[in-house]
C-alpha cells in the first residue's frame, strides 16, 4: 500500500547542507497503522509531509499502491491527495470563520460533491457533534475542535490518513477519547494510518512503529 524507499531530505541553511532525513525506508500494508516516533527535531514531521506529497524529497521515493507519487507533477499530486488522503493536525487547522459543518463540508466541496452536506452531518453525528453543527471553531473546546478535524479527515473516506501529533494539544483524558475515536473510524473505513507521535502508549496501539533520530531510522519497523 505505502512504501518509502531510501527517502532523504537535505536543505541549505546559511550556505551549509543540513540533512533532515537520511535514507529512510519502510513498507506499510493496506488498512494497517504505522507510528513514527522520535524526539523533537528528529525529522518525523518532514517524513509525514513527504508521505503526503506535501514536500519533495532530495532523493528516494514514496510508492502509493505501487505508484511513485513524486514521478507525478504537482498538479497530479494535488489530485492524488484529494482522492486518497486525509490529514489530522496537532493544531487542528480548522478554518476560522466557518462553522463545524462548513469545515467538514470543505474537502467535499473541493470535489464538487453534491451530497457534501448530508455526508458532513452524518460524520459529525458519528463523532458526537451532531448538536454543534452551527458552532464556529472558537466556540468549541480543544477536544471538540479535534473531533471536527477528524470528521473532516474521514468525510472523504480516505485510503490513507496522515496524523501529526493528534493529541499533542489535548489533555490526557480528551486525548484518549480522540485516539479511541480515530482508531474506530480507521477500522470502520478500512483506512491505512500513519501517525506521528511522542506518546509511546499511542504508538503501541499501531500495527507498526518506526523510530527516527537525527533523521535516521534507528529502529526498523516493529510489528506489534
Amino acid at each position: 500500500m505505502l512504501t518509502a524507499k531510501n527517502l532523504s531530505k537535505v536543505v541549505e541553511v546559511a550556505g551549509d547542507s543540513l540533512v533532515i532525513l537520511d535514507d529512510i525506508s519502510f513498507e506499510l500494508d493496506s488498512a494497517k497503522s504505522l507510528a513514527i516516533v522520535g524526539e523533537s527535531g528528529s525529522g518525523k514531521t518532514t517524513l509525514l509531509g513527504l508521505l503526503g506529497g506535501l514536500d519533495e524529497p532530495s532523493s528516494g521515493e514514496v510508492l502509493f499502491q505501487q505508484h511513485s507519487i513524486f514521478a507525478q507533477q504537482e498538479e497530479d499530486r494535488a489530485r492524488f491527495r484529494k482522492e486518497n488522503l486525509g490529514f489530522v493536525f496537532q493544531n487542528f487547522q480548522l478554518i476560522e470563520g466557518l462553522t463545524a459543518l462548513e469545515n467538514v463540508m470543505m474537502p467535499l466541496e473541493l470535489r464538487a460533491d453534491k451530497s457534501a452536506k448530508s455526508k458532513a452531518v452524518e460524520i459529525l453525528n458519528k463523532v458526537g457533534l451532531g448538536q454543534r453543527l452551527g458552532h464556529y471553531a472558537n466556540q468549541l473546546s480543544g477536544g471538540e475542535q479535534q473531533r471536527v478535524a477528524i470528521a473532516r479527515a474521514f468525510v472523504t473516506e480516505p485510503k490513507l490518513l496522515l496524523a501529526d501529533e493528534p493529541t499533542g494539544n489535548l489533555d490526557t483524558a480528551t486525548g484518549e477519547n480522540i485516539i479511541e475515536l480515530m482508531f474506530s473510524l480507521v477500522k470502520d473505513f478500512h483506512t491505512t494510518l500513519v501517525l506521528v507521535t511522542h506518546d509511546n502508549h499511542l504508538a503501541k496501539l499501531c500495527d507498526q512503529v518506526i523510530t527516527i533520530s537525527a533523521g535516521k531510522l534507528v529502529s526498523p519497523s516493529v510489528n506489534h
Binding site: A78, F87, I95, L110
Partner: protein, 840 residues
C-alpha cells in the same frame, strides 16, 4: 470547465463571506470603494467642467468646429455634416476699403450667412462704447455693423451711408463684440459685418481675390469629434481645421494648463491608492497563507487556489464598484452643487458613460497591485499545515512587480493621455523612491545608535524595535512619506501653482492694448492716461520686420526643418528698441550692454537681444547675424544676448529688442497695455475720437473667460483634495493595521515577561513618533526636489523653498499618526495576554 468554474466560484464566495464578516476584507473593500468613488467623482466632475469649458471654448471660436479655406469647400462636406446632425454656417472674410465723407478706411469685411452666429451673440451699440444690445441675428441686407475705429475714422453715425465696392450700405450700429472674435483680435484693420447675400452686389470678389472662407459647425460633442476626424482626412494643405489654440492662444494655454493640473492631481491620488491597495492586499494575503496551505492539502492545485483568490478579489471589486460608484455619483452631485454651480452658469448634466473608465481603472488597480500578494498565496507550500512558520519564498521574478508597475502606467496613461507629464511624474516618482530609500536608510542608521544613550527605557525599546524590523520600518517610512508627499504636492498644485497663476491674471492685469500710436501721439496719450489715472505699461516703439536670412544666407537653407514653421518665419515680427531690459524679461545668455552708438554712422552693425525659444527653434546663437526686411528695406543685426520672456505678464513683449538708435530710420508706431475697469470703458471712446488712427484691442472678456476656467480647475482640484486626504487616511490605517498585527505578539510576550502596560503603550507610541518624524523629513526633502523639477520643467514657475511645510507637516503627521494608532495601541496593550497570544 463551466462546472469547475461554478464550483470554484461557490468556494470563493463562501470564503469571501467569511472574510467579509470577520472584517478581513473591510480595508480592501474600503480602498476599492475609495478608488472607485474618487476616480468616478473626479471623472464626473471633470467631465462636467470640461463640457462647460468646451462650451466657453466654442464661444471663443463661435462654433464647435471651424474649417477655413481659401476657396469654397466641396458642397458634399456640408451634406456630410448634415448626416452627423450638425448645424452649419459660413462667413466670407476679405479686405476692402470703405468710402464715406470723402474719407477711406481699409477694413476687414466679414460677410455672414444664415444661421450666423451659431454660438454666442453679437454685441452692437448705437454708438461706440455705449450700452450694447445682444443680438442673435446677422445684419439685414443693405445694412452693416462697423467697429468703432471705422466710425471714428470716417466720421459716421448710426443711419449714415457708406460705400463698399459698388454697393451702398447703411450703418446699423457699432460692432462692439462678435462671436469668434479670437481670430480677429489682432487684425490690423477694423472689422465690418455684413450679410453674405450682399457680397455679389459689391463686386469686390473677383477671380484671384484673396478671400478666406470660414465654415462653422455645431452639434453633439461625439458627432463633432467624428466629423472632425472625417474632415482631417479630407482637407488639403491650404485648408485648416481651426482649434482654440489658433484662435485664442491665451484661452488655449489656460485650457492646456488646466488639464495638466487636473491630470497631475488625479495621478497623485492614484499613487496613494495604489500603495494602499498593495499594502492591504499583502496583509490579506499573509492572513490567507494557512487557508491556502489547507486547500492545497485537501488536494486543490496551485492554479485552483489562485483562481479562488482572484474570484474573492472579484467580489471585492463588485462591492467596491457598487459602493464607490454610488458614492462617486453622490459626491459629484454635491460637489457640483457646492462648488461648480457657483462658477459655472448652466453646468451641463453629467454623462454617466464616463464611469466606464473609473470601473476599468479600479479593476486594473486592484488586480494589478494585488498580483504580488496573489502569487504569494499561490506559492504557499502545503507543508505549512505541518510547520506554520513556513512562509512562501519571496517572488524570484521581478516580472510580477513589473506587471504591477505596468498596470499603473497604463491606467495613468489612459487617464492622462499626456505622455510628457506622465513620464515626468513616473521618472520623478522613481527618483523619489530611490531618494526615499536612501534617506530612510540613512536616517535609520543615524537614529538607531541613539538607543544606547537614551535613558528612557520605552524610547530605547522603540528604537530597538525599529532596528529589529528594519525591512518593515523602511516599508512604513516609504508608505507614510509617500502619502504625505502626495497630499503636499496636491496642496501645492491647488494653493501655490493655481494661486500664482491666478495672481498673474490678477485684478490689475492689463486688459486693453493700444496699437498704431504715432510718435507725435505718444506724449499726449501718456498725459491723457495719467490724467484719467489709468495705469499703463509705458509706450514701446514698434517696427514690423520679416526675417529673411541668417548670416547673409537664405533663412530656408539654414534653419532646421523643425524650425521652418516657427511663428517668427511665418509672419512679420514686432521689433523694438530699449535702453534697459523690460519687466518680465531676464537674460539667459550674454550681457545686456549696448555699444556706444554714433548717430552719424548708419552703417554700424546693429545689436539685438533675441527671445530664447525663437533662438532655439531657429538654431541661433550669440554672434549670429539676422537679416530682416523692414518695409522693403533690408536691415541686419548681430545677436548679443538671449532673453527669457514671461508671456503671462500681459504687457507688450518683443521677440527682438535692438539697441536704441539703430531702427530710427524706419517709421515706428507705438504700443502700450493698460488696465481699464468696466466703468472706464467710455475713455476708449474719447481716445479713438481724439486719435482715430489708433487701434484698441480689448482682452477683458477673454481674460474673464480664462479666470473662469482657472476658477473651475481650482474647484475641481478641491474635490480631488477631499479624496486624496481620504486615500491618505486609508493608507495610514492600512499601514497601522499592518504594524498592529506584529504588535499583538510583542505585547503578549512583553506582558508575560512582566512589562507594565504603561511601558508597552509608551514604547509603541514612541515607535509611531519616530516613524512620523522620519517620514516627515523624508517627505519634505522629496517635496522640495519634486517641486523644483515640476516648477522648472513642467509649469515653468519660479521655485522657492516651502518653509511653512517644514513646520506644519511634522506636527500634522505626528498628531494624525498618534490619533489613528491610539485605539489600536490601547487594544494590544490592555487586552489579556492570553487573548493576544491566541489572536497573534
Amino acid at each position: 470547465m463551466g462546472s469547475q468554474f461554478t464550483h470554484l466560484l461557490g468556494i470563493a464566495f463562501k470564503l469571501f463571506k467569511r472574510d467579509f464578516y470577520r472584517g478581513e476584507l473591510l480595508i480592501l473593500i474600503f480602498v476599492m470603494s475609495l478608488v472607485m468613488a474618487s476616480v468616478s467623482s473626479i471623472f464626473l466632475v471633470i467631465d462636467r467642467i470640461e463640457n462647460a469649458t468646451a462650451s466657453e471654448v466654442s464661444d471663443v471660436l463661435g462654433a464647435d468646429l471651424v474649417v477655413t479655406s481659401p476657396a469654397e469647400i466641396d458642397e458634399s462636406w456640408l451634406q456630410d455634416a448634415e448626416k452627423y446632425q450638425l448645424e452649419s454656417a459660413r462667413s466670407i472674410e476679405f479686405s476692402s476699403v470703405l468710402f464715406a465723407n470723402e474719407n477711406i478706411q481699409l477694413s476687414s469685411i466679414k460677410a455672414v450667412s444664415d444661421n450666423f452666429p451659431l454660438k454666442g451673440q453679437f454685441q452692437v451699440a448705437d454708438a461706440p462704447y455705449q450700452p450694447v444690445s445682444h443680438l442673435n441675428r446677422f445684419p439685414e441686407s443693405g445694412k452693416i455693423w462697423a467697429e468703432p475705429r471705422i466710425l471714428n475714422a470716417l466720421n459716421l453715425n448710426k443711419g449714415d451711408s457708406v460705400e463698399l465696392g459698388y454697393a451702398d450700405f447703411v450703418i446699423e450700429g457699432a460692432l462692439m463684440r462678435q462671436p469668434g472674435q479670437g481670430s480677429t483680435l489682432f487684425n490690423i484693420s477694423p472689422t465690418v459685418v455684413m450679410n453674405i447675400n450682399d457680397v455679389e452686389r459689391t463686386q469686390i470678389i473677383q477671380p484671384g481675390s484673396r478671400v478666406n472662407y470660414r465654415y462653422l459647425f455645431v452639434g453633439d460633442r461625439k458627432n463633432i469629434e467624428l466629423f472632425n476626424e472625417f474632415l482631417k482626412e479630407k482637407i488639403n494643405s491650404s485648408q485648416r481645421l481651426v482649434t482654440i489654440y489658433d484662435e485664442s492662444p491665451l484661452a488655449g494655454s489656460a485650457l492646456l494648463r488646466s488639464k495638466k493640473y487636473l491630470s497631475l492631481s488625479t495621478l497623485l491620488t492614484m499613487i496613494i491608492v495604489a500603495i494602499t491597495i498593495a499594502m492591504s492586499a499583502n496583509r490579506y494575503a499573509i492572513k490567507q497563507y494557512d487557508m491556502s496551505a489547507l486547500m492545497r492539502c485537501f488536494g486543490m492545485t496551485r492554479q485552483a487556489v489562485l483562481k479562488v483568490f482572484i474570484m474573492i478579489l472579484g467580489f471585492v471589486s463588485l462591492f467596491g464598484i457598487i459602493i464607490g460608484g454610488g458614492l462617486g455619483i453622490f459626491v459629484e452631485n454635491i460637489a457640483s452643487q457646492l462648488f461648480a454651480k457657483a462658477v459655472i452658469d448652466g453646468l451641463p448634466d453629467a454623462d454617466y458613460r464616463v464611469l466606464i473608465y473609473p470601473v476599468m481603472a479600479s479593476l486594473l488597480m486592484l488586480f494589478g497591485f494585488s498580483l504580488p500578494a496573489l502569487f504569494r498565496i499561490k506559492q504557499v507550500s502545503p507543508m505549512r499545515v505541518l510547520r506554520r512558520n513556513l512562509s512562501p519564498a519571496g517572488l524570484k521574478t521581478g516580472a510580477i512587480y513589473l506587471l504591477s508597475l505596468a498596470t499603473f502606467v497604463l491606467v495613468m496613461w489612459l487617464q492622462m493621455g499626456d505622455l510628457k507629464l506622465l513620464l515626468n511624474v513616473v521618472l520623478s516618482l522613481v527618483a523619489v523612491l530611490l531618494v526615499f530609500s536612501l534617506i530612510a536608510y540613512g536616517l535609520l542608521k543615524a537614529v538607531l545608535p541613539m538607543s544606547e544613550r537614551l535613558k528612557n527605557p520605552a524610547m530605547t525599546y522603540s528604537l530597538r524595535q525599529l532596528n529589529a524590523n528594519k525591512g518593515m520600518s523602511l516599508l512604513h517610512l516609504l508608505a507614510f512619506s509617500l502619502a504625505i508627499f502626495v497630499i503636499a504636492i496636491i496642496i501645492l498644485v491647488r494653493g501655490e501653482l493655481i494661486g500664482k497663476w491666478q495672481q498673474s491674471l490678477g485684478e490689475n492685469v492689463p486688459n486693453h492694448f493700444l496699437i498704431n500710436v504715432k510718435p507725435d501721439e505718444v506724449k499726449p496719450i501718456q498725459s491723457f492716461l495719467e490724467s484719467q489715472q489709468v495705469e499703463s505699461s509705458g509706450l514701446y516703439p514698434m517696427v514690423r520686420g520679416r526675417i529673411t536670412g541668417i548670416n547673409n544666407q537664405d533663412v530656408k537653407d539654414l534653419v532646421p526643418e523643425s524650425g521652418q514653421n516657427h511663428n517668427s518665419l511665418r509672419r512679420e515680427l514686432n521689433l523694438t528698441w530699449s535702453e534697459s531690459i523690460p519687466l518680465g524679461n531676464h537674460l539667459v545668455e550674454g550681457e545686456w550692454k549696448w555699444p556706444e552708438q554714433n548717430p552719424s554712422d548708419s552703417n554700424a552693425t546693429a545689436r539685438i537681444s533675441l527671445e530664447e525659444k525663437t533662438a532655439d527653434a531657429l538654431g541661433l546663437k550669440i554672434g549670429d547675424i539676422i537679416n530682416f526686411t523692414i518695409g522693403s528695406e533690408p536691415w541686419q543685426a548681430e545677436i548679443v544676448n538671449i532673453r527669457y520672456i514671461d508671456w503671462q505678464t500681459f504687457t507688450p513683449n518683443f521677440y527682438v529688442i535692438a539697441n536704441p538708435g539703430t531702427l530710427d530710420k524706419f517709421g515706428a508706431t507705438y504700443i502700450t497695455s493698460m488696465h481699464l475697469e468696466r466703468s472706464q470703458k467710455n475713455l476708449l471712446n474719447q481716445l479713438v475720437k481724439e486719435y482715430p488712427g489708433i487701434s484698441v484691442i480689448e482682452l477683458d472678456l477673454i481674460l474673464e473667460e480664462i479666470q473662469s476656467i482657472i476658477g473651475k480647475v481650482s474647484k475641481a482640484v478641491e474635490v480631488i483634495m477631499v479624496f486624496v486626504v481620504l486615500a491618505g487616511v486609508a493608507l495610514l490605517v492600512a499601514a497601522l493595521n499592518y504594524t498592529l498585527d506584529t504588535k499583538y505578539k510583542q505585547s503578549a510576550i512583553l506582558r508575560t515577561l512582566g512589562a507594565s502596560q504603561r511601558f508597552i503603550s509608551q514604547s509603541f507610541r514612541y515607535e509611531y513618533i519616530w516613524l512620523a518624524m522620519l517620514s516627515s523629513i523624508m517627505a519634505l526633502i522629496a517635496i522640495e526636489l519634486v517641486s523644483l523639477i515640476l516648477y522648472s520643467v513642467v509649469f515653468e514657475i519660479e521655485y522657492q523653498i516651502h518653509w511653512d511645510f517644514w513646520l506644519i507637516i511634522p506636527i500634522a503627521n505626528l498628531m494624525l499618526m498618534l490619533f489613528a494608532s491610539w485605539r489600536g495601541v490601547r487594544k494590544v496593550t490592555y487586552s489579556s495576554p492570553l487573548i493576544l497570544l491566541r489572536q497573534s
